[in-house]
Chain length 278, copies 4
C-alpha cells in the first residue's frame, strides 16, 4: 500500500496558462439534492467552485435554486426533472458528480441510469452517497463508457460489495472492485482513506476525527469534481483531491474541535496556491 | 448549591477516537420553527452542528427549508406535518430537542405529545420554549420513558411550576420538579443559571446581561443537544453545555455591548478545542 | 444650534443591570418591506438587533420571511396583511418603526393609519421613508397619542413641510414642525443632520459622503428603534443613535470609498461597548 | 495600442462632495438573471453596489428576489415581465446594464429591444453576455440613442463580429466595431483585455488566469455600471473599471489559486479608497 503525501500536490496543481479561459478548467455537472437534503447540493457545488472548476452546473430540484444562488452565485442550475435539460447538461460536461443528498426515489434512480448510459470515454462520473446506494439496491449495473470514481464510506462499500466492514481488507476490496468494474477507481472513506485503481492501493496520510460530521463527504465529492475537471482523470489527481481535503481539515482541527465542511471549502483557493508549483 | 466551573469542561469534552465516524457523535432531531418564528430553528440547529453533533435533522415547516439550507447546509430537514417522516426521525435519533419557535398550535401540541410517547430510555428529550408552554397550558403530562431536560426561563418556569418568580427559591424549585417529574433535569435560565437534578443543585458561574437578546435560549438548546449527542446524558454534560455557552458570551461581552447568538455559535468549535483534554 | 458630540454616548449607553432580561431592552415592531423593496426591511431590523434591542418583530409581506430568517435569525416575523396579528403586535410593542421599503399602496396607507391611531403615550413611533410620503400625499394627519419621531431626508421634508430645500433654514423647519405636530421630534437627514424638538435644534458632528448609498436611512431607523427601546424616548437617545451611526461610518470611510449599511450594522455592538460607561 | 495603468484611477475616482446625496452617484438598472442563471444577477448587482453606485435596481424574474434581498439588501428589485415597471425603471436610470444570466428567450429579446429603443443620449447601456448573443443571433440592430458599451469575451465577439478568434486583430476588431456602431465602446475580454473607442485602442495591464471562473464577467459589468453611474460615460471611466477589477484579482491571485468573483466584490470599497485622490 503506497502512501500519498504532499509531493503529489505540486505535481498536480500546476500553474495556469495565462492565455487560458474558464472553458479550460472543466465543465462540471453536479446532480445532487432533494427536498429534505438540500445542503448536500450546496456543499458539493461550493467545493467544486472553490477548488477552481471553470463552470459548475447544479442539477437539482427547483426548490433549492434560491439557496444555491445565495451560497454559490458562481454556479448555474438546472431542474433534474427535465429530461431534455439534463441530457444536454450531461453531454456538455467533462465531469459529472452524482449522489449527494439525492435520495433513492425513482427519479433519483432514473438520474443515475441516465448518467451511466449517456456518457462516453472522454467523461468522468463520480458516484457518491445515494448513487451508490441505488446501485447497491437496484438492478442498475456499475457500467459505463465513462471513467468511474466511487466514493463510498465503509457502510456504503459494505452495501455495494457485500463485504462486511471487518472483512474489508485491501485484498478483499481490490478483488471486489475488479468484479464490480475493473476500470473504476474506488475511494474507500475511513480513518486514513484508501484509493484502489487496477493494481494500485494508495493510502492518504492525513485526516482526523473532527471531520466526523454531516456534509464532509459531499464536500470531498465537489473537490474531486473540481480537480478532475481541471487536472484530468488520473490516480494522481484523485489522490491530490483527497489529500488536500484532509490536510486543510487537519490544520483546522488544531484549533477546532469539530471541522465544519464550509470551513474547509473556503480555504481551498489558498491551500491550492500554497501547494501549487511556482 | 454547587458551583460549576471550567474543570468540568475538560472532563466532558474528551478527545475523539481517530477510528470514529459521524454516527458516533449523536443523531440529533430538532423540532422547531413555524411560519412566524423561523430564526429559532436556524439558531438551534446551527448551534447543534457547531457544537460537534454528528448528524442533525431539523423537523420544521417546509417554508423554512431554504433558510436552513443556506445557513446550515450540514443539516438535513423533514416536514413535521408528515407523521410518518416524524415517527421515523424520532426512532432514529438519540437526542430530540423540541420547542424553539414552535408556537402553541394544535400541530405543535401533537408534536410534543408524539415525542414524549414515542421515545425510550436510551433517548433524551430537551423540552424548550413553546414545548414548555404547551405542557403548562394543556393536559399533556411531563412523562416519558426518555431522559428529560427542561430549559425554562423564569417566566416559563412560573407557568410550568405555578411558582411566582419571587418564590422560585432553590428549595421550592427542587420540590416542584420532584412533583412534575423526579427524573428530569431542570435548567432554570436566569442571572447565574441553575441546574436541578435529583438531590443536586448547581449554579453556572458565568453569563452577562449582554445575552439578554432574542434567540439566546434557542442557541443554548442546540448546544445542549450537540453535547448530549456526543458526550451522553449526564449532569456533567449539561453543566458543560451551559458553561461554555456563557463563557463564550462573557468573552464576547468584553468588547460587545450586546452578544448576538450567531456570534456565540461560530465560536463553539474553537472554544471546545481550547477546553478539550489534550 | 447645539452641537452633538461623543459625550452624549456615554450618558445614554449605560451598563446593563446583571439581573435584567430581554424584555427590559425593548419590544420593537418594524413595519417595513414590500415585494420590490425587501432589503429595506432586512437592513432596518438587522440594525435594531445589532444595536441591542431585546425583541424585534418584523411586520412585512410573507414573501420576505425567508430572507429575514437568513439574515436576522434573531428576529420574529408577522404578516402585515393580517389585521389581527398587526393589532396585537402594535399593542405589545414599545417602539414601532414604520416606513422603510413599505411603498405607498393602500395597504401601506392602512398600516400607517393603524399605527398612528392604535398607540398610546407609553409608545414611540418612528415614521420613515414611505410612511412620510404617505402622510405628505394623503389626508392622514400627523397625529398620535404616541411619541413621534420623523426621519425625512431633505426631499421628503420638502414633501411633508412644503418647504423647498433652499428654504429649509433651521427657523423655517422648526416653525413647520410646530404646525405639523409640536410634540414630534424631527430628524432632518443631510450633510450634518439636524434634530428638532420643541425649542431645541441640534446638529450631528459626523457623517461623510461615502454614506450616500441605498439603505443608509433604513439602517438609521433600525438603530433609532433599538436605542429608544433600550434607553427610552428622549432627545439624548435620539442624538446618540444618529451620532453612533455617523461615527461608525466615518471610521469606515477612512478606508472605504463607499460605506455599505451592512458594514455599519455589524460594527454596532463593538462601538456601543466602546462608548458605554464603564 | 495605449496601455492603461494606475494613473487613470486617481483621475477618475475623485473625492465625493460632502454635500452630495445618493442620487448624485447614479441610478443603475441591472436587467439580469433567469430561472437557471440566478447567480449572475447577484454578482452583477452586488458589484455595482460595492463600487459605490447610489441606487441600484435589479430587473429580474421574481423567483430571484429572495436571493437578491439576502445578498444585496441595498438593492431594489422589479419584475422584468412587467412592461410598465420596466419602462419606468428605464426612464429613471442613468445606466442600464443588460445581459448577465438573462438567457436568450423571447422575453430576453424583448428586454434588449426595449432598452435599445427607449433610451436617450443622456443614458448609457452596457450590453453583456446574453444581450450580445441576442443581438448576434436575431435581427435586432446594435443601435440606440444612448451611449453603448459592449463587453464580449472572444467567443461572443466572434458571434457578434463574424471574426474568428484568430482574426481578431486590433485592426480587424476596430473596423468591425465601426461597422456595427461607430459610437460604441467595445471591451474585448481576454488575456490583457482591450478597449476600442473611435480611434483609440487601449490595453489593460493586469489580469491573471485565476480569474478564469464562472461569474467573472457579470462582476465586471456591475463595476462598469457603478463607475459610469458615478463618474460618467468616458473612456477613462471604463478603463478604470476594468483596471481595478483586474488589479484586485491580481492581488488575490498571489495567495489564491482561483479568484472568486465574490472576493473581488468585497474588496472594491477598499481599493477605490486606496486609489482615490486625496
Amino acid at each position: 500500500m503506497e502512501k500519498v503525501n504532499k509531493v503529489v500536490l505540486s505535481q498536480v496543481i500546476t500553474p495556469r496558462d495565462p492565455q487560458s479561459y474558464k472553458g479550460n478548467y472543466g465543465k462540471i455537472l453536479i446532480i445532487a439534492g432533494s427536498t429534505h437534503f438540500g445542503g448536500a447540493a450546496i456543499l458539493c457545488s461550493s467545493a467544486a467552485v472553490h477548488s477552481g472548476a471553470g463552470l459548475v452546473t447544479v442539477a437539482t430540484t427547483p426548490e433549492k435554486f434560491t439557496a444555491i444562488n445565495v451560497k454559490i452565485p458562481e454556479a448555474m442550475t438546472i431542474d433534474y426533472h427535465s429530461k431534455k435539460d439534463l441530457q444536454l447538461a450531461i453531454q456538455n460536461s467533462n465531469v459529472i458528480a452524482i449522489g449527494p443528498g439525492l435520495g433513492t426515489s425513482s427519479v433519483a434512480k432514473g438520474l443515475v441510469k441516465a448518467v451511466l448510459t449517456n456518457t462516453n470515454a472522454e467523461q468522468t462520473i463520480i458516484l457518491d452517497a445515494s448513487a451508490l446506494t441505488i446501485i447497491a439496491e437496484t438492478d442498475l449495473l456499475l457500467q459505463s463508457e465513462a471513467n468511474l470514481v466511487l466514493t463510498p464510506h465503509q457502510g456504503e462499500w459494505q452495501r455495494l460489495s457485500q463485504l462486511p466492514i471487518a472483512q474489508q481488507t485491501p485484498e478483499n476490496s481490490q478483488a471486489k472492485l475488479r468484479e464490480l468494474n475493473p476500470k473504476a477507481i474506488l475511494i474507500l472513506k475511513k480513518h486514513l482513506s484508501e484509493i484502489y485503481y487496477q493494481d494500485k492501493i494508495l493510502q492518504i496520510q492525513a485526516g482526523n476525527p473532527g471531520m466526523a460530521t454531516g456534509g464532509m463527504g459531499d464536500t470531498l465529492t465537489g473537490i474531486l469534481a473540481g480537480f478532475i475537471g481541471q487536472f484530468g482523470f488520473s490516480i494522481k489527481t484523485i489522490s491530490s483531491a483527497l489529500l488536500i481535503h484532509s490536510l486543510i481539515a487537519d490544520d483546522l482541527n488544531e484549533k477546532n474541535y469539530v471541522v465544519l465542511p464550509s470551513k474547509i471549502i473556503e480555504k481551498l483557493p489558498k491551500y491550492m496556491a500554497k501547494f501549487s508549483q511556482k
